[in-house]
């Protein structure tokens, strides 16, 4: 179960972030949580991650804005988008921006983990 996968999980819901990161940690993944897009970008500037999971709808910087900035500052960094809403336009925009996947909440954690692993060529 040992893995050096590093995941940054970004969502404005603190309760969700804490639960998901803890569950990912339990599965041997290094998971860091952020509560806003800005915080995530600051964290990314300081540390390196293999994959970022982004909520599309957040106050301040939205998920899609963050993806655009990541594309500029950290090209090649994998992104998975997560949303409570299922808008085809958003999904399309996300995929066009290079997001690996677009998932609708609530997601099964093991399914999410499988996608994260495959996005970096693991599993």
């Amino acid at each position: 179960m040992a893995s050096n996968l590093r995941v940054l999980f970004v969502d404005d819901e603190e309760e969700l972030v804490s639960a998901v990161t803890e569950r990912l940690e339990l599965r041997g993944v290094t998971a860091v949580g952020c509560l806003s897009g800005r915080e995530a970008l600051e964290r990314l500037a300081r540390e390196s991650f293999d994959v970022v999971v982004l909520d599309v709808k957040m106050p301040g910087l939205g998920g899609l804005d963050v993806v655009r900035m990541i594309n500029q500052r950290h090209p090649g960094l994998k992104v998975v988008l997560l949303t409570g809403h299922s808008s085809l336009e958003d999904a399309q925009a996300g995929v066009e921006l290079g997001a690996v996947a677009y998932l609708q909440k609530p997601v099964d954690l093991d399914a999410l983990l499988a996608i994260l692993r495959s996005s970096v060529g693991e599993g």
Partner: protein, 567 residues
């Protein structure tokens, strides 16, 4: 059964009712017909009276001319004879005149000197009416004329022309007489007679139309010369005489045979005679009758043509107006319906989105709890806890299904193309009605072909189509009824989805109308738009929809869809 208009639209009814359409058409026809036909009638009436007056004047003119000419020659004839008698009675003494030989000579001289030999005989009558001497072809010596009208008149007036009578000789004749005063205060009268036959020669013009008639009457309307129309001398004519005038009077009259005549009348001066010239109006106005018939025929034909065009045009006008208003009403209802759906969709999406976030938290918290319980080596009542957590996760899963379905339904308000697995879509739609099916104990049977291809179409619109048809099927079946849903390939590039129920069915007379907007059999509850919208969507998606039904046996709707959107 029958038509009803969408519920809630009573206030703002944009459709033209059939009564309003009839009233509109009547007004259009009346207004147009009035402005088109009234001037035509006015023009025709003016033409009619003008033509008639002109032609009538033309017909009357020769009548007046002939009548006047004849009047003048007749007056001249009578005046000549009166003058001759007056000259003789005053020029000669009683003794010179009163012998048959002298009278015979006088007649001969007068007849020679006058233009027309007219006098038949000559006699002298004394103041008591006794004929003293006589020369002529009749044996009239010694006759007494005291009781004859002419004698009384000449005694009073001096000179007199009588009307025609038979007298002692029993031959129609008239008298011209002149009185001579004696020195002793008495008088005698020189009396000449003229055959009535001469009058007819005098009034007859050189040429007379075959239907024309010219004759003399006295003031009582008794013929003084024979008439073609009314018979021989001394017969009464059935025409009233016009009032006296010095000139010629031409007027239209109707005689006892019902024939309309132009009558020229002239009173002959110093005589009881009235000259009448008759011309049948039919002959005189023959040209007018032809013209009049042409005028009437033209007017009637024009009016009929105008009316036909107006009736046809107004029908077309009102029809297209009703059609336009019906379409507008349908469109407005469609828009209203779509807006309603869109609002509902937005609301559903908002709710679903808001619920999804806390749902995700519950999901992760429960997942974490499960992780922790699983990983803990020694956890009291582990199984019980895992059961509880799984139950929570299953409930989350159920909520998720609901919110995803809501989002999926709401998302597809716009036309989009995406690959669709019809089987899944049909089951999703059925999912909305699952509870009702369960409560009403309905059997819903799916028969999905294995070779059913994925089609390219609009998910939301298709959901609406099948939801509408299934709603109708649910409304048609009794509790415990059955609905069969069959999806199979149809030809090389189409699929067919049929939804059959065993419900009440649709009467044949309603079958052709069920896709019309506002047609509903759900009195009071239906808008009559469901199937119309369904039809519109299917057509928009490039498909077709068919319906078969039998009353009491059920109804089958078949939706045929292209596997790929055309165009």
């Amino acid at each position: 059964m029958g038509r009803s208009v969408g519920a809630g639209a009573e206030d703002l009814e944009p459709q033209i009712s059939s009564g309003a359409a009839r009233r509109l058409r009547r007004s259009v026809v009346l207004a147009t017909a009035t402005v088109a036909i009234l001037p035509l009638l006015v023009t025709t009436t003016l033409n009619y009276t003008q033509y008639r007056a002109a032609i009538r004047a033309e017909a009357e003119q020769p009548i007046a001319r002939i009548t006047l000419n004849t009047k003048r020659s007749l007056e001249l004839f009578l005046a000549e004879r009166r003058s001759a008698l007056m000259f003789i009675v005053n020029d000669r003494s009683f003794e010179e005149l009163c012998s048959p030989a002298a009278l015979a000579r006088t007649i001969a001289n007068m007849n020679r000197s006058l233009t027309v030999a007219a006098f038949v005989d000559l006699g002298i009558v004394d103041g008591t009416g006794e004929q003293l001497c006589y020369s002529g072809p009749y044996k009239l010596e010694g006759k007494n004329y005291r009781d004859q009208d002419w004698f009384a008149e000449v005694a009073r007036r001096g000179t007199y022309t009588s009307d025609v009578f038979l007298g002692y000789r029993n031959v129609p004749h008239f008298v011209i007489a002149s009185r001579h005063e004696r020195a002793d205060g008495g008088f005698y009268v020189l009396r000449a007679t003229i055959d009535a036959e001469l009058l007819s020669e005098l009034v007859m013009p050189a040429s007379l139309g075959s239907e024309d008639d010219v004759f003399l009457v006295n003031r009582q309307g008794v013929l003084q010369s024979p008439s073609r129309r009314y018979g021989p001398v001394l017969t009464s004519i059935p025409l009233p005489l016009p009032p006296y005038s010095a000139g010629v009077d031409v007027r239209e009259m109707r005689d006892n045979r019902g024939e309309t005549l132009f009558v020229g009348a002239a009173f002959i001066e110093n005589s009881p005679f009235v000259l009448l010239f008759l011309k049948p109006a039919g002959e005189a106005m023959g040209r007018w009758l032809t013209l009049r018939n042409e005028l009437i025929a033209f007017t009637v034909a024009s009016a009929v043509l105008i009316l036909a065009v107006i009736l046809w045009g107004s029908g077309q006008f009102v029809k297209s107006l009703s059609e336009a208003s019906r379409r507008r009403a349908a469109l407005m209802h469609h828009i209203e319906y779509s807006n309603k759906l869109a609002s509902l969709g937005r609301l559903a999406a908002g709710v679903a989105h808001e619920i999804n976030n806390p749902l995700a938290i519950i999901n992760e918290k429960a997942g974490l709890a499960k992780d922790l319980v699983s990983l803990e080596a020694e956890f009291p009542r582990r199984e019980k806890f895992l059961d509880l957590i799984d139950s929570i996760l299953r409930s989350v899963e159920r909520c998720k299904t609901i919110t995803h379905r809501l989002l999926g339904f709401a998302r597809h308000m716009d036309v989009q193309n995406e690959p669709i697995d019809l089987g899944t879509l049909l089951k999703e739609v059925m999912g909305f009605l699952g509870k009702e099916a369960e409560y009403r104990n309905l059997t819903v049977n799916f028969d999905l072909s294995d070779t059913l291809p994925t089609i390219e179409s609009d998910r939301g619109q298709l959901q609406q189509v099948f939801l509408n048809i299934l709603n109708n099927a649910f409304a048609a079946v009794r509790d415990g009824g059955r609905i069969d849903i069959v999806a199979e390939p149809f030809g090389p590039d189409q699929v067919a989805v049929s939804i059959a129920d065993d419900g009440v069915g649709i009467p044949p007379e309603n079958l052709p109308r069920i896709f019309e907007p506002f047609f509903t059999t759900k009195q009071g509850t239906g808008t009559g738009l469901g199937l119309s919208i369904t039809y519109g969507i299917v057509k928009k998606l490039g498909g077709d929809i068919q319906v078969e039904s039998e009353v009491g046996r059920g109804t089958r709707f078949t939706v045929i869809l292209p596997t790929r959107k055309r165009g």
